[in-house]
Structure formats: C-alpha cells, structure tokens
C-alpha cells in the first residue's frame, strides 16, 4: 500500500519535471515571464500589481479552480490503472509498419541520398501537423456530437482558467485523447520507419519534438489563463493565440464552437470556425447551461455518464417497440407454419443420423468445399471434418504416417496432386464409378488421384486491343509485336509451370524455352500478383494481354464489388489454340489417404464428387468445368460456351514440371 501511495505521488509530480508535458516547470516559468511582461509593458501595471493579477486569489482558489485540482488528483489515480491497458503505441506502429509491407509488397530504400537532417525535419513536421490536425478534429467532434459533449462539457464548465485547467477532464475524454495520440504517433512512426528505416530521427530539444517545444515555451500555458495575448489579425489566421482559446471558453453564444485548434489556426480557418481575438475583451468563462453544482464531483464524474448514456440510448429506445413487434410477428409466423417443430426436428434428425465420420485434408478454401460437404452430409448422414491449410499438408500427412486421421485429400492443380502420389501418401482406388465418370486423361494411371473439375488457362485481352485476331494461340504471346503488353504472375507458380509443361509436351523443350523467353521478353512489368491482379492491370492500362484461369474471370464478373466487375468488363476472353491442340486445362482433384481407416466412405465421397449434383456445384461455386462428360455445361459457364481442350494426359504435366521449372529459371520468368 505504501508503495502504491509513494508511486502515486511520484508520478503525480512527474509532469512538472517532464518537458513532454505542458505543465513542465520550465514552460510554466516561460508563461509567467510572458504574462509578467504583458502586465508590465502593455497594461502598464506595477510589478506588485502584475504579480497580484497573475496569481489572483479569486482565480487560483475559486470553486472552479479547486475542482480542477480535485480532478487532477483523482484522474491521475485513474490513469495510473488505465495506462497499461491502452493499446500500445509500439504495437500499433508495428501494425502500420506491417500493413505497409502488404500494400507495397515489401519495402524499398526511398531517397537513399536524402540527408539525415531533411528526413528528421520531415518527420518532425509530419508529426507536428498530424498531431495538431487530429487534435482539431477530435476537439470539434467533442463539441458537435452530443454523446462526446457530455464529457467535454466538464472542461468547459471551468469558470476560471489556470494552466492546471488543462487537466480538467472527464476520464472518458482522457481515454479519447490518449487513443488519439497513440493512433497519430503510431501512424507517423510506422510510416516513416517503413519509408526511411533507421535514418529517421526525432529532432528534439530536451527530448521533445522541437516544434512542440517552441509552442510550449512561447506561452502555451497562457491559453488557460486570464492573461489576454493576441497575435494580430494576420498571424491569428495561422496560429491560435491564447486570447483565441480564451474566446473558445467564453460563455457568450457568439463564441460557441469557435477556435477548436491547439497550435495552428488553419484548421479552424478551413473549417469555418475561426474567430479572431481583436480588441481586448472581458470574457466570462463557462457553459451557457451552468448550474450551481457544476464543480461537484458528482457533476464532474457521474452526470456526464448519465447524459452520454441518454444520448446513445434515446434513439435505441425509440426503436424497441418496433423490434419487439417484428420479433412477435416472426414467432407467430413460425408457430402457424409449424416451423419451430420443424427446426427442432431437423436438429434432432441431424444428430441422430450421423452414422460415420470422414476427415478431409484440404488445400481448397473451406468456402469452396463447404457446399459439397453439406450436400454429402445431408445425402448420407456422414459427418465431415475438414482440416484446411494452403501449404504444408503433404508434409503433415507424411509426418503423421500411419497415425494420420486423414481419409480424403482435396487439392487443386496436378502438380500438388502429384506431390501426394510422389510421396506415396495416397491409396489406389478401384472404382467403376470413378472410371466411368472421369475421362482417362484426367486420372492417375495408377488410380491414386482423380480430377473432379477442370479449369482452362485462357487469355484475357483488353477490349482496347484492335487486332484481336493476332492473338489466338499461346504461341502468339511470344510474338515481339506484343512487347511490353503482356502481364503475368511469376513463372514458378504452378499454373504457369503447368502451361510451360504443356508447351514442352506439344512442341518440345527447345521450342518451349524459346516461347517462354519470348513471353518473358514481352512482359510489361515484373511478374507479380495473382490472376485477378493481371485483369486489374489490363483495366488500369498497364498491359493488354494476360494469361488467367477461367474461373477468376467468373469471380470478377459476378463479384459483389463494383470495381471488380469493372475489371472484368475491360477484357474479352480467348480460349487459345482452338484450331490446334486445344486450350490447356488443369484440374482440381483428390484421392484417398494411404492410411485412411475409412477407405470405403472416402471412396464413396470421391464418387459423389463426380455425380451430377456435385459436378453442377463446381460450376456454381467456382466457375469450374465438370469432368463428367455426361453432365451438361452448367448455366454459369454457358456464356463462355464449350471449348476444345488439350487432351494431353494430365499426369504428363507433373512429370514435365521439373523440366518446365528449369526453363522458367533460365528465362528468369
């Protein structure tokens, strides 16, 4: 307990010795000297009169000032507890720093030759301006929003102003101020360190931002005082004078909601809230709706809470009868249709009908396979558990060995399916259903993996392109006439590697390498992004041609985001090589895990995925083509029409992948 008390008094005195705080004794001393100068030189008072005016008993020991001191003492105690609970400035700065890495795909050295003093100056100015602008905005919101005014009114209920009035604050408001400071500082620190790294320095005097130091030594404490200091009409458009802030505290109606700024007046000027000080005025401070009990602790702490709660609750309370009525109607509707009984029955049925479980390891995102899982569960009563990971599932399965709970593997791309077969992680399945439903070139010759859907690697071509007939085959991508007009994701991505493998299969290694070199030579920018990003690049005019998987176009075309629909609207689709070997396709597929304890059920699930019901889902969920030739082309893909596909054995793509990778490396795609 003694330690707590000692710590309290130690930290209470800290602001007076901390140059980062407004009430640092050095700043108070400066304010005193300035105030004295004004009293002596401008008002012509004697030294005794001047000192008496500055330390006027009626001001410093008024009921209002005494309330300031009480608030200072109590708030300090409360802030001692709140401080550590606030989000840390460092954590938020790190978040900003990290987010910028995602936005800019890493970090580069910006202005490597920029001198240190210039970076430090830019940092100090950015910090100063954003700090001041955010204070203005928060202050304005505190006045304009009733729920916030309930708290800020505490500060404005001061009828006499002293430098300590700066601490006349409701704790809720103090929390807002702290949050503001943290957000602004973190944003500036995170951004500057991202841009300039270790070259960022803070220009300080006594450890304080140099600009803030200047503000504080030039009489910032006189803002909350009865000493009238103006800067003149011109300067007061740019800097808030102590007199302007005193006007802000004026009880007079004409002064309400004026001069929200702290240091710079430009925010008020721009926001139409600037009021110049003009000639010396005798102002009365406080709020218009003042009460006799404004300085009581109850009014300072509790009343703002009730007023704010009322401000929030009133609109809600108004809506309660409406919401109750809606709920009543819904329940009556359920009762009349027997819906309640139905829902109960459904729940009972689902739990009773679970006869077995199936564990799926999936590289496909949950939302893509959920519809299949739900359809299968409702058809068979089998409970399905899904483990999803974009990477590392094969290694996990390998590490688990015969203890693995996995029954089914689902993934996309033949390269990834091949990994499982190559590591001997799949069990061969002899299923007449799968054999009948899946064409031979789309399943493993050793029956370990099976394709369930097809995706075509097609060309997206800008609608701006006039000679579209010149780009009808993959080979055309290497034509020098398209120099600087092709966009692509990196060659090492499985989709592109598979495409190169298909070119090797069709044309041979040398021709494939020459082709890949030609394509790389035609790129408009460094390979980057996913297939969506390529379409966006065409929309933005960075390039005219891109290779994409067909379903990305479908996703963009039917996207909820208007901008994505606009990207799709900027391109035409070409299914390449229709007069030759056909368009290169890849697959999504899967197999039964080698150590599955439930192979029969696993096989049944795979068979289900080739059924009409599931094959339709592939189109509706992800715009993929059915592998089952008995299933007609679903409506979602009808607009693209049927196309001639390259019928090379899909397994050969995996076999040729290492060679394709070497070509990609050599041409640096």
């Amino acid at each position: 307990m003694d330690t707590v008390i000692l710590e309290y008094f130690r930290s209470l005195s800290e602001p007076f010795f901390d140059p980062q705080k407004r009430v640092f004794i050095g700043y108070l001393g400066c304010a005193f000297i300035i105030a004295l100068g004004v009293q002596l030189c401008l008002l012509g008072l004697s030294l005794r009169e001047a000192i008496y005016a500055i330390f006027c008993r009626k001001v410093w020991f008024s009921a209002s000032a005494l309330a300031d001191y009480k608030l200072l003492l109590i708030n300090h105690f409360l802030m001692m507890g709140m401080g550590p609970r606030l989000i840390s400035k460092l954590a938020l700065a790190t978040l900003v720093f990290e987010t910028l890495h995602y936005w800019f795909n890493g970090r580069t050295i910006i202005f490597p030759d920029m001198p240190g003093w210039a970076i430090a100056s830019a940092f100090a100015v950015a910090l100063f301006i954003l700090d001041d602008a955010s204070k203005y905005l928060v202050h304005r919101a505190l006045h304009r929003w009733p729920v916030l005014w309930a708290f800020h009114r505490v500060h404005h209920s001061a009828e006499t102003l002293t430098p300590l009035t700066v601490y006349r604050t409701h704790p809720a408001e103090a929390f807002i101020f702290s949050l503001r400071g943290i957000v602004v500082h973190a944003g500036v620190i995170g951004s500057f360190i991202f841009c300039f790294g270790e070259r960022v320095e803070l220009l300080t005097v006594l450890g304080v931002n140099v600009l803030l130091f200047v503000f504080n030594v030039t009489g910032a404490n006189l803002r909350h005082s009865h000493v009238w200091i103006t800067y003149g009409r011109f300067v007061e458009h740019f800097l808030i004078s102590p007199a302007q802030h005193q006007i802000h505290h004026s009880v007079h109606a004409r002064d309400h909601d004026r001069n929200f700024g702290v240091i710079l007046a430009i925010w008020d000027w721009m926001g139409g809230s600037l009021s110049l000080a003009g000639h010396r005025q005798r102002l009365r401070f406080g709020v218009a709706d003042r009460t006799a009990k404004d300085h009581s602790l109850k009014n300072l702490y509790l009343v703002p809470l009730t007023v704010a709660t009322r401000a929030v609750a009133t609109p809600l309370l108004r809506d309660i009868p409406k919401m109750t009525h809606s709920l009543f109607l819904f329940l009556r509707c359920l009762r009349s249709t027997g819906g309640l009984a139905f829902m109960v029955g459904l729940l009972t049925h689902s739990s009773a009908a679970i006869s077995s479980e199936l564990n799926i390891y999936s590289h496909r995102q949950p939302f893509l396979i959920k519809p299949f899982v739900e359809a299968y569960e409702s058809q068979t009563g089998t409970k399905i558990n899904i483990v999803y990971a974009s990477k590392g599932l094969a290694q996990r399965l390998q590490a688990e060995g015969n203890r693995s709970p996995a029954d089914v593997i689902l993934t996309v791309d033949i390269a990834r399916l091949h990994v499982y077969a190559d590591k001997d992680l799949l069990a061969p399945i002899l299923s007449p259903v799968l054999t009948a439903n899946i064409p031979e070139h789309l399943r493993d010759p050793e029956n370990r993996w099976f394709a369930f859907s097809k995706r075509a690697r097609i060309l997206a071509v800008s609608k701006r392109l006039e000679n579209i007939n010149d780009i009808q085959n993959y080979e055309d991508l290497a034509n020098p006439k398209w120099g600087g007009r092709v966009c692509s994701r990196p060659g090492s991505h499985v989709y592109n590697r598979a495409l190169v493998a298909s070119v090797i299969y069709a044309l041979g290694s040398s021709a494939a390498e020459a082709w890949a070199k030609g394509v790389f030579g035609n790129l408009a920018r460094r390979p980057q992004g996913n297939d969506r990003a390529q379409v966006k690049a065409i929309f933005e005019g960075q390039c005219d041609i891109a290779v994409i998987n067909n379903y990305y176009f479908g996703k963009l075309k039917y996207s909820n985001k208007p901008e994505q629909r606009a990207w799709a609207g900027a391109v035409n689709l070409i299914f390449p090589n229709q007069n030759g070997r056909g368009t290169h396709i890849n697959i999504s597929g899967g197999g039964v895990a080698k150590y599955s304890a439930n192979k029969v059920e696993a096989q049944s699930f795979l068979e289900f995925l080739t059924s009409r019901k599931a094959q339709d889902l592939y189109a509706s969920v992800n715009f993929e083509y059915p592998v089952n030739t008995q299933v007609p082309l679903p409506n979602q893909l009808a607009s693209s029409g049927n196309f001639k596909e390259d019928r090379m054995p899909i397994a050969r793509i995996a076999e040729l992948a290492p060679e394709a990778q070497r070509i990609i490396d050599r041409v640096r795609w």
Partner: protein
C-alpha cells in the same frame, strides 16, 4: 522456475568466480589432476576433449569443401565431403582452420588431434521438421552434400540455397549444441551413467563424469584460457586476425594448438554478441559454468557424486544450456535481420531494373545462415513445440527468390518443387521471426533488429496516456 534456477546458478557462478580469478591457472580449463583411485598409470592431467576438437576441424573443413563445386555433378568432391562428414579414415587433412599470416596452426591433419572421428555419428538423429520429407539430421546433411557437390561454389541460385552455410550452421546446432546440452550435460549427468568413481571407459585415467563434462566443453569450442581473454580477443582468434596469435598462444610455443588454444563456432558466435557491448556475457558465463562444474567434479576426489553435488552440476548445466540456446536464438535474430535488409536492397535494385547478382549472393548466404541456425536451434534437449512450428512456417523451406518463387517441397527424385511466394509477406515474416526470438528466448543483444527503430521512436515520443485537455 527455470529462470529462478538460472539466476541462482548465475549467483553461484559469480561467487565461485571470485577466488577463481585470484590465480592465473585457475582461470584456465586445463590440468585437472587424476582423481580415479584405481588408476596406476603415469598420466597427470585428466582434461581431454580432443574428439570434439577433431569434429570442429571436420566441420570447418566440410564447410570449405562445400563451396568448391563448379556447377556440375562431381562425384569426387562428393566423396571427399562425405569422408569428412561420415568417414573415419585416417589421413584427412585439416582444410580449415589453417595457418594464415602470423597465425600458425600447430596441426595440419585431423589424426594429429584425434583418430576415427566423424560428424554424422554425433548429429541429431531426430526428424528435422523444418525441411520437407522428414529427414533426420544426418540424412539432411547428406542430402545437402549431394546438392553442394554439383552446385557452383556451393550456391544453387535457381532454388536459393547456399550449401556451405546451411551445412555449417545446422551442424553448429545439430551436432555441437545437441551433443553438449542433450547428451553430455543431460543424460550423462545421471547417477548411474558414467559415474565419477569409475573410469569413463576401460583403461581411461579420467572418470565418467570428468570426461563427460570435458566433452561438453569441447563442443563449445572456446580456448581453454578464455577467461583470461576478452570476447573481442576470442573473436579475433576465430578470425585468425593479424596479431591474434598473441592472444591465442597461451603456452607460448609460437603456434596455435587447435586442441586448446583455438576458437570454434559456438564460442565464436557467443563472443560476437558479447563484443557488441550490450551487457550480455554469453561467452564468459558459459565458460565459467563449465570451469566451475569441472572444479566441483575434481573436488570430490574420484568418489561417486552425491545427489546434492549432481544437482549443483545440473544447475551449471542449465546455465550453459540456456545461454547457449540464447546464442543460437541471437543468431536467428541477426540473420533474419540480414535477410530483411537484403530483401529491402534487392527490391530497390529490382524496382530500378538494376543488376541483382551481387546482392542476391549476399541474400542467399544470409538466408542459409538463418535457416541453418533455425534448424539447429530446434535440436536442443527440449521440444520447442509451437515456437518451432512458427519458425519453420515463417522461414519456409527456401528463401523467396527475386522471381517471387520459393521452394515448398522436395520430390522423391530430390528435385526441389517451387511455387509462387509473396515478397512483402516474407519480409514481414523476418520481422516476426525476430519477435519470436525475443519473446520466447528473451535475447538481449538483438543484432540487426528490424523494428528496433520503431521501439526507440515510440519511446522517445512518450507513453501517450495523458489527460491534458484543450
């Protein structure tokens, strides 16, 4: 609990260290007399860790060899590397560390230090989860040797591997650290394993506990007279800097005896962090703990150690293990920072369409060091659990290359399988790897901190919890 133990041990060590430094010979890990009661021979000094020093030279030599390839399959080079890794034959010369200028190395042949030693027999036999295909430690090194023999100067630019660094840094953890902390300073401290009242092996003049402790010290690779030197001296010896022989040559014969006077990898890295002057003293803390422990063993005069004495010995061992682990974690932190800095420079060059060749070489070297240390860190006596999983996922199986690809797997024909990767995300992973090292291992030196500037600026701007109003 562990922290308490370490603090108490540190106290014991610091107390014990005071009289230790009173006498010059007391500072040196050497010349402990024979205590074995049944010994009738003529030997007088029981300190012996030549097998460990031989392995240090095998490691240093293997690292040199791994960088000798010319980009084409080379079975001769492969066989030579394998002889240093898993062979036991005689006649293997010490390729490194060799004499350099005035730094004259006494031994030129591994057999002059100890015969029939290899690395593979002492490399961590558990599964290395940070690389594909569940390889054990020796299998992984063998796989890398295979690849290094056909790489150009040990570097596979297409897949992003610098094999000399990968092999070396992994062995620093997977053999030196693992053997010391998981074997000699753990299992061999049990009551009935290598007891102190019996010879280490038949005919030996040292006891089971004496030699076990010595072998642990041998793997640390510090000169026997480390406590008479500064970390900078020990570092200079490892670098064979001009004039460093004066610091190394403790017996004054004008040569550096690799058995007792040389600095090898673990001590080199410990000295590197200590000389940064950030208040840590890994090198002296570890060496002192070894020395005090050895004195304790010698003090019981060939009797079996009591439970209390063994408990004290385990406290010293815990100090060694914790500080050694921190040295490895400091290395992971340092190289994650280097990788991040390299990526920043590479991106700047790429954006300016400049030549990345030189910078890429640096990047792959640093990544190899990062990966090797990260894998080695996981071979201690405790399972790092989630920390290891996070570390392996964030670092991945290969670096993100300038064509935005990354090795994600190895197929059954030993081909690397690559996929697209995100440059910016990987840079962030490096920052998170550093944070993981700080949070989980409590490292203090934090060389090349990525977010260190954030922290210092945030601190300069103050806490922010203020009630000031306008």
């Amino acid at each position: 609990m562990l922290n308490k133990l370490i603090i108490s041990s540190s106290l014991v060590i610091s107390l014990a260290g005071t009289p230790l430094l009173a006498n010059a010979n007391d500072d040196v890990y050497a010349k402990f007399p024979v205590t074995l009661k049944e010994y009738k021979g003529t030997k007088t000094n029981t300190v012996s860790y030549s097998g460990q020093i031989a392995r240090h030279t095998l490691h240093d030599s293997l690292k040199k060899l791994a960088g000798k390839g010319n980009g084409k399959p080379n079975s001769e080079l492969r066989a030579q590397m394998m002889s240093y890794f898993s062979g036991k034959e005689g006649g293997r010369s010490i390729i490194a560390p060799a004499s350099k200028g005035d730094f004259i190395v006494k031994q030129v042949n591994v057999d002059q230090i100890s015969k029939k030693k290899n690395i593979s027999g002492k490399t961590y036999k558990g599964t290395i989860n940070g690389m594909p295909n569940n390889m054990t430690g020796p299998e992984l090194v063998k796989f890398w040797i295979e690849k290094a023999s056909s790489a150009n100067k040990g570097v596979d630019r297409a897949n992003g591997y610098n094999y000399p660094q990968l092999i070396s840094k992994f062995i620093i953890g997977g053999m030196m650290y693992n053997q010391a902390v998981d074997n000699y300073l753990d299992e061999k401290l049990s009551a009935d394993t290598k007891p102190n009242n019996k010879p280490y092996k038949k005919g030996a003049h040292y006891t089971g506990k004496e030699h076990s402790w010595d072998e642990g010290f041998g793997y640390f690779g510090a000169p026997a007279h480390t406590l008479t030197l500064t970390p900078a001296d020990v570092y200079a010896i490892a670098k064979r800097k001009k004039g460093a022989i004066k610091k190394a040559d403790y017996n004054g014969d004008g040569k550096v005896d690799l058995k007792t006077e040389m600095t090898f990898a673990p001590a080199y890295y410990a000295s590197g962090y200590d000389k940064a002057g950030k208040g840590k003293s890994y090198l002296h803390t570890i060496t002192k703990a070894f020395l005090v422990g050895r004195k304790l063993i010698a003090s019981v005069g060939g009797e079996k150690l009591t439970d209390q004495q063994r408990a004290l010995l385990r406290e010293y061992a815990a100090v060694i293990a914790k500080n050694w682990e921190m040295v490895l974690a400091e290395s992971v932190h340092k190289y994650a920072g280097s990788v991040y800095n390299d990526m920043e420079k590479l991106k700047t060059i790429m954006d300016a369409k400049g030549d990345t060749t030189k910078m890429e070489s640096k990047y792959l070297k640093h990544w190899g060091e990062l990966k090797g240390f990260a894998l080695g860190l996981q071979t201690g006596k405790g399972n790092l659990g989630e920390t290891a999983t996070k570390l392996n996922r964030m670092i991945g199986a290969g670096p993100v290359l300038i064509n935005s690809s990354q090795v994600v797997d190895i197929d059954s024909k030993s081909n690397y399988v690559r996929d697209q990767a995100n440059w910016g995300e990987y840079m962030l992973h490096m920052a998170k790897v550093q944070k993981l090292m700080v949070d989980k291992f409590g490292i203090k030196v934090r060389t090349k901190s990525i977010t260190g500037d954030l922290a210092s600026l945030a601190k300069k701007l103050g806490a922010g919890n203020t009630a000031e109003n306008d």
